[in-house]
C-alpha cells in the first residue's frame, strides 16, 4: 500500500555521501573509559538536577540527576565508580555545562534494577512512558528532545501514524545504518512500544535507498507485523528532517510553526527506538550509543560508546589522526558542530565524529550575492534565504521575520549550494535567535 507514494520532497541537495568507509564496519565495543563526564544538560529543555555528591559510589545505570521540569530528563552514570567531581566542563554543543565526573572502578557493575521482563509488551502505556522517562531518553537523531514528552501529545491531537526515521541523510554517518542491521529486532520492538503508547496502528519506517541491506533486514523482521511498513526513500538531504520525511512518506504537509502532530504524525529515530526497547524491556537507562568515527582518521569505525566518554578516547581507539586535523565535527557535516577540544564528552545526541583535513575546510572567498536563486530553489522549506540573509546583514531583523525566517529548519542546504560562498544559514539562525529573544520580552 505504500508503493503508490512518492519518496521525496521539494528542494534539497546531494552532498557526496562518503558513507562507504564505515557502512560495512560492524559496531565495535570501545574499552571502558577511565572516567566519564556526564553533562547535566544533554537534551532540549531544562537542565537536570543533580542528586549525587562528590565521593558517592555509583553503578552503571544509576541516576546521577533527576529531571529539572516536565521538558527534561534524568542523566545516569554510564560506568561504575566514584563521583570524582561536579563541575563545569566543556560541552560538545558549545560552552561549559555543569557535569558529573565519574572515575571508573574498572568493574563495570550494573545497577540492580536492570532486568529483563519478558512480558514488557503488555505493560500499560503510562507505565511504559514512565520507564522511558526514567531511562533518560532524548531523541538520538541529534535533536535530543525528551522522548517521553514527545510521546505525550495533548489529547485533542489525534496521532494516527508513527514514523520511524532511518533515513540517516547526513554524509559520513552510518551509525543508524549499522544499528538497523545489527539491532533490527530491538528497533522494531521499540517501534511497536512507541506505537502502543500512542495507540496507533499504522507505522512507517523510512530508509534512504542507499541502504538496501538495512531496508531488506528491517522488512524481514517487521513482516510479522502487518501494521508496520518499510518504505525506501530517495537519497536526498535533508530527507531525515521531520517535515520533509512526513511529506515524503504520507504527502501530509506540517503547517509552518506547527509540530508533526498537527497532521497526525509522530517521528522517532531508529536509535531512540532501540533505547526505548532497552528501557521498557530491561529497565535499562540510556547509557551508551553508537557513534560513527569517520574522515581523516587511521581507522574509520562504528563504535558503541558509553555516554560521557571523552572524544579523545574514540579517536585514539581509531588509531589517531593521519594528518593534524583541521576540523573536528560532532554530528554530520551539514548540521554538526565544530569542536575546539577533544575533551568534550559523547552525549545522548552524538551520532558521529567527523575529522576534516585542511583542504576540506576552505571553500574559497565569499563574494557578493549573485542573485542566482540556487538557495531559493533548493530550500526545503521554500524560503528565500538570499533575501533573508541580506536583510539580516542590513540589520533589518524584523523584515527578515516577514520573510518567514522562523520557518527555517537550519538544514544548511542554502549555505552548501551558494556559489558566492555566503553562509546564509548562519545569518538566518541569527535572525531566528533575535526574533525569539524579542518575542520573549
Amino acid at each position: 500500500m505504500f508503493d503508490i507514494l512518492k519518496r521525496n520532497f521539494k528542494g534539497g541537495v546531494h552532498p557526496k555521501e562518503n558513507k562507504k568507509y564505515t557502512e560495512s564496519k560492524p559496531i565495535e565495543e570501545i574499552p571502558l573509559p577511565e572516567e566519564v563526564i556526564i553533562p547535566l544538560q544533554q537534551h532540549i529543555g531544562k537542565p537536570s538536577k543533580i542528586i549525587v555528591n562528590k565521593g558517592d559510589k555509583v553503578n552503571a545505570g544509576d541516576p546521577v540527576s533527576e529531571a529539572g521540569g516536565f521538558v527534561s530528563v534524568p542523566c545516569h552514570a554510564s560506568i561504575s565508580g566514584t563521583v570524582k567531581a561536579i563541575q563545569p566542563h566543556i560541552h560538545p554543543l558549545g560552552g561549559e555545562v555543569n557535569s558529573v565526573i565519574i572515575e571508573s572502578d574498572g568493574e563495570d557493575k550494573y545497577s540492580e534494577k536492570i532486568e529483563f521482563n519478558p512480558d514488557y509488551m503488555n505493560l500499560p502505556a503510562e507505565e511504559m512512558k514512565n520507564m522511558i522517562y526514567e531511562a533518560g531518553i532524548a531523541g538520538m537523531g541529534g535533536a535530543t528532545f525528551p522522548t517521553h514528552v514527545k510521546l505525550s501529545p495533548p489529547p485533542e491531537k489525534k496521532i494516527d501514524t508513527a514514523i520511524l526515521n532511518g533515513s540517516e541523510c547526513e554524509p559520513y554517518l552510518t551509525s543508524d545504518h549499522r544499528l538497523m542491521l545489527e539491532k533490527t529486532e530491538e528497533i522494531i520492538e521499540g517501534f511497536r512500544i512507541i506505537m502502543k503508547i500512542l495507540g496507533v496502528n499504522r507505522g512507517i519506517v523510512g530508509i534512504e535507498n542507499n541502504k538496501p541491506d538495512a531496508i531488506k533486514k528491517m522488512e524481514d523482521v517487521s513482516s510479522k507485523f502487518p501494521e508496520i511498513g518499510v518504505v525506501s526513500l530517495d537519497v536526498k538531504y535533508p530527507q531525515g528532517a521531520e517535515k520533509q520525511l512526513i511529506y515524503a512518506l504520507t504527502r501530509r504537509k506540517v503547517p509552518p510553526g506547527k509540530l508533526p502532530m498537527e497532521v497526525g504524525c509522530l517521528v522517532q529515530n531508529v536509535g531512540t527506538a532501540k533505547a526505548v526497547y532497552d528501557a521498557v524491556a530491561f529497565k535499562r537507562p540510556l547509557i551508551d550509543r553508537v557513534v560513527t568515527v569517520a574522515g581523516d582518521i587511521t581507522h574509520q569505525k562504528n563504535l558503541n560508546v558509553r555516554i560521557g566518554t571523552p572524544l579523545k578516547n574514540l579517536t585514539d581507539y581509531c588509531g589517531g589522526f593521519v594528518n593534524s586535523p583541521k576540523k573536528i565535527i560532532i554530528g554530520g557535516p551539514m548540521m554538526g558542530i565544530a569542536q575546539h577540544s577533544l575533551n568534550a564528552p559523547v552525549i545522548k545526541g552524538t551520532s558521529g565524529i567527523i575529522i576534516l583535513r585542511s583542504e576540506q575546510i576552505g571553500f574559497g572567498k565569499t563574494t557578493p550575492c549573485l542573485n542566482c536563486g540556487k538557495c531559493v530553489e533548493i530550500c526545503p522549506m521554500n524560503l528565500t534565504p538570499n533575501i533573508i540573509a541580506s536583510l539580516v546583514e542590513n540589520g533589518r531583523i524584523e523584515d527578515a521575520g516577514e520573510y518567514n525566517a522562523l520557518d527555517c529548519i537550519e538544514c544548511g542546504c542554502c549555505s552548501y549550494i551558494c556559489p558566492a560562498r555566503i553562509n546564509l544559514v548562519q545569518n538566518i539562525k541569527f535572525a531566528k535567535f533575535k526574533i525569539m529573544q524579542e518575542a520573549k520580552k
Binding site: 521539494k10 509552518p256 583541521k326 576540523k327 575546539h340 576540506q360 542573485n371 528565500t384 556559489p419
Partner: protein
C-alpha cells in the same frame, strides 16, 4: 584530563555546514564563457575572422577596465571571477560584424565602468552590463549599429535571395508596413511568403545580424550545456520564448490577428541569445521561480511590442533592460509561501 589536548589555534570552529557544493561564482562564469564558444566559432565561420577580432577587443577592454577600476577603488581584485570576460563576449555578440574596431572598446568600457563598477561591481549592478553597453552604442552611433551588417559567407543578410540589404526582422517589419501602401502591398506579401522559406538559414545562422546572435543551432548547444550544468534554469527562456511565440502569432501577422509567424520570430534576431544568455543573467533576473516566470513574460511582451510597433526592428535588448529594473520588486514583493502553508 586537565591537559589541553588540542588548542583553539589549530582547529577551525566555523559554523555548519562544514562542506560545500563545488560550484563557485568563478566556475559558473567560466562555464558561461565555454557555452558561448560554439556561437563564437560559428560567427567566425559566417562573418569571417573579423568577428573574432572584435570579440577579443571587447574582452580585452572589459578585463582591463575592470582591473583598473578595481585598483582605483582599492578593492581586492575580483577579476578572477571571470564575469568581465562574459560581459566582453556578450557585448561583442551584440555588434554588427562591420562596426569599426573602436566600437567594442567604447561599448565594453561603458558596460564595465558605468554598467557594473559604478554600482559596486558584480552582484550590485541593476542591469545587464553588456546590454547597457549596447544601448549606449546604439544611442551614440545609431548608424553604425543599424547598418554595418555583413553578409554571411554563403547567403544574404536577409536570409532570402530577393533582398540583400537588411536583416530578416527589418525586412519583415518593412514588408508588414508596406502592406497598407497600395502599390507595394503585392510585393510585400510575396516577401513575407518568401521569408517563410528562410527557416533553415535562420536556424543555422546563415543570415545577417549581430555577431553572436544569428546561429540558433550553435547558441542552443551552449544553452543546453548550461541547463545541464544547472547554471541557468529553463523558466526565463521558456516563458520568454513562449510569450514571443504566442503574441506574435496573435498580433504579428500580415492578415490581421492570428496570422503571425511565431517560428520566424523565434529564430530571427537576438531572441535566442537574449533569452538563454542575457535574460538569464543571475544578478539582474529574479531569484524566485514565480519571479522568473513573470520576468520572461515581461521580456516577451516588450519584445513583441517593439518588434511590431517600435522604431527598431529588434527589441530584445531593451526589453531585457526594462525587465531588469523590475527584478528587485519581483524578488521582494512576490512573496513565496513557506512549505506547508
Amino acid at each position: 584530563m586537565e591537559e589541553q589536548i588540542t588548542t583553539k589555534e589549530i582547529l577551525s570552529v566555523s559554523s555548519a555546514p562544514h562542506i560545500r557544493a563545488k560550484d563557485t561564482t568563478q566556475k559558473i562564469m567560466f562555464a558561461v564563457v565555454i557555452s558561448l564558444m560554439p556561437a563564437l566559432l560559428g560567427s567566425v565561420y559566417f562573418f569571417g575572422v573579423r568577428a573574432l577580432w572584435l570579440t577579443l577587443i571587447s574582452i580585452i577592454t572589459a578585463v582591463i577596465t575592470e582591473w583598473t577600476i578595481l585598483k582605483l577603488r582599492k578593492v581586492e581584485t575580483t577579476l578572477s571571477n571571470g564575469s568581465a570576460i562574459v560581459t566582453g563576449i556578450l557585448l561583442a555578440f551584440n555588434l554588427p560584424g562591420g562596426v569599426p574596431w573602436w566600437m567594442p572598446v567604447a561599448g565594453s568600457f561603458f558596460a564595465i565602468s558605468i554598467g557594473k563598477q559604478a554600482f559596486g561591481g558584480l552582484g550590485f549592478n541593476p542591469m545587464n552590463p553588456a546590454l547597457l553597453g549596447r544601448a549606449f552604442l546604439l544611442a551614440s552611433w545609431p548608424v553604425h549599429m543599424t547598418t554595418d551588417w555583413t553578409a554571411p559567407i554563403y547567403g544574404t543578410k536577409s536570409g532570402i535571395s530577393a533582398i540583400t540589404t537588411a536583416t530578416p526582422l527589418a525586412v519583415l517589419k518593412e514588408a508588414i508596413d508596406n502592406l497598407s501602401v497600395e502599390d507595394k502591398a503585392q510585393q510585400a506579401l510575396q516577401t513575407i511568403a518568401e521569408l517563410k522559406g528562410s527557416y533553415g538559414n535562420l536556424f543555422l545562422g546563415n543570415v545577417g545580424g549581430c555577431i553572436g546572435e544569428t546561429s540558433v543551432l550553435l547558441l542552443l548547444i551552449g544553452a543546453i550545456y548550461l541547463l545541464y550544468k544547472g547554471y541557468i534554469n529553463y523558466r526565463i527562456p521558456l516563458s520568454y520564448i513562449a510569450t514571443v511565440a504566442i503574441f506574435t502569432y496573435i498580433f504579428g501577422g500580415p492578415n490581421g490577428n492570428f496570422s503571425g509567424d511565431p517560428l520566424f520570430h523565434i529564430l530571427s534576431g537576438g531572441l535566442i541569445v537574449g533569452a538563454f544568455f542575457m535574460a538569464t543573467d543571475m544578478v539582474t533576473s529574479p531569484s524566485t521561480s514565480k519571479g522568473q516566470w513573470i520576468f520572461g513574460l515581461g521580456c516577451g511582451i516588450f519584445t513583441v511590442i517593439i518588434r511590431r510597433v517600435g522604431g527598431y526592428p529588434e527589441g530584445v535588448s531593451y526589453s531585457i533592460l526594462l525587465m531588469n529594473l523590475t527584478t528587485p520588486l519581483l524578488d521582494r514583493y512576490l512573496k513565496v509561501k513557506p512549505f506547508g502553508s
